[in-house]
Amino acid sequence: MATPKLEEVHDKSKRYDWGFDYAIPDPRYKTRYLIPPKGKDPFRVLIRDYMAMESEKDARVFGALDADVRYKTADFSEPRWVEGMKFAVPAFTDAEYQAVKGAGFLISCVQNQELRQGYAGQMLDEVRHTQLETSLRRYYLKNYHDPAGFDIGQRALGNHPVGTMARASFQPFNTGDPIEVAICLNVVLETAYTNPLVVALPQVAVANGDRALATTFLSIQSDESRHMANGYGTLMCCVQEADNVPFLNEALERHFWHQHMSMDTLVGVVSEYYSVHRPWVYQDVWEEWVVDDFIGSYMNRLKEFGLRAPSRLPDVARFVKDMHHSAALALAAIWPLNFWRIDPLTERDYEWFEKAYPGWHARYGGFWDMYRAMSDPSSGKIPMQTLPALPPFCQVCHAPCVMPRFDAPETRVFEHAGKRYAVCSEGCDWIFKLNPTIYTGCANWWEPWHGMNLADVIEALGYVRPDGKTLMAQPHLGASRMWTLDDIRRLDYIIQDPLRS
């Protein structure tokens, strides 16, 4: 018997649905959008194909990781890079897990059978991704020579400012208006931003001797294509109602800015500052995937329905040039508070940066010289002591308020309901004002540590190695001359929350 045609089976499967013609259910989650009952899943996902396909994908990923273990690939991966994975991979795991909940959220909200099927597939995918990334971290933990930072799991990221940034970025995946969930997750993050992250970043990994990340991420991204199609299907469904269009434009504006603040920073930092070999300049990757593919191809075709490119696109382009330099510098400036090591930049790195970003050395060279000079504990100094004040974190995106440049930040500080807040940019200011309640519940990262000795903060964060005294964080990659809590305590450095005064 010949296998029934995909189209026919898919069409038939769509008929297993409820018509709700005798009772209208209350919406499970409120939405301000009018959602027509139509929608399309171009992948025509059916379990018979899905399971076989995903099983083969996993077999290949774990087969490749198995080979990496056998051939000790981790020994040949640049330590500078793997240290970056200590915070980068958990940040992405946060995204995957929040997306599991997000897909579940959408299954409950979307009455359209085809789209619901697509989201069901997505939920399974996001569980897969969470597991794959956790497996990758386990691979690093077991095979990389310095596992401190991988060994306390997601708790490491959870306590760190990068963790707040990740949670804030990915929270819109499962809160608020369900259509906006689709806009944030499927359209903005998965169509625009996962491409540079999950497709282009593997190139950097491979250039730095880390095949495991490349294998894992390229496989993760193969599921992403169906998520992009889910987003597209939901968007096309919504543009049919003209009343939805202003809401869609506002949602795109908000999520494009916010995701840019977290993703462009994260990928820019990791690909250029946590690498020894750099196959590309981040800005070029951004131009290709975000401007040409997402804006110029995908969004461009939606113009006729009234959808517009985010008005802040020129500001995004402006920020992309500088943001990641500022963020990398900020992370190095607060190095004792991290759970990974930061290798000082060398002359060779300086040359690359100057070529890719003329003027880089004049602006940033001094800081990195200082960082290198303070990397041995005998220096008795840390960069934090040289800052006139600690930068506040943006109440919306939780990036440090040194954006786009630490010497020319576009920070705004204001009072809201009797409390002082900072935002990093006009874009985040606008987002805050759209709905402050979303953002005011989260404490600014410095708040709980105000007035505490830095050594006590590090202990409270749990960023200490198994010997109970050596910091997980180190301003160099050496096996000896590592900083301890005593070295920090000797500095008598007291945290001052910059927003409290």
Binding site: L6, P36, K40, E56, S222, E224, A229, M236, Q240, D293
Partner: protein
């Protein structure tokens, strides 16, 4: 997919590019061979661990032909194991994968 018109001899060249990213693998290499043979105007970029294939208007991969180049039968879901990303409008059918530049005109207004 230009509007056919007998009298029109103007050439309206515009970018309606579609693309597909394939992670390096045997199947990807067979796909590259198929693209080079059937769509020589397509652009292929080697990004070390993945390939990006881009073309104006339409990218089409016929699994029967790909299977011939690969040396074993292959279905679309099996092939999709290798697709990391794409841009354009994707259409999946039995034995064939297409990426179109036309957006689905799904408008019902008024």
């Amino acid at each position: 997919m230009a509007e056919p018109s007998r009298a029109t001899r103007r050439m309206t060249d515009a970018r309606e590019t579609v693309g597909i990213s394939l992670m390096g693998s045997e199947e990807a290499h067979a796909a590259l061979a198929l693209v080079r043979a059937e769509m020589p105007d397509a652009q292929i970029t080697d990004n070390d661990c993945f390939y990006k294939i881009e073309r104006e208007g339409l990218l089409e991969l016929d699994m029967a032909k790909l299977g011939e180049l690969l040396g074993r039968p292959i279905t679309v879901p099996e092939f999709l194991v290798n697709m990391s990303s794409y841009y354009g409008r994707i259409v999946i059918n039995d034995g064939i994968l297409q990426i179109h530049s036309d957006i689905l005109p799904a408008r019902f207004r008024g």
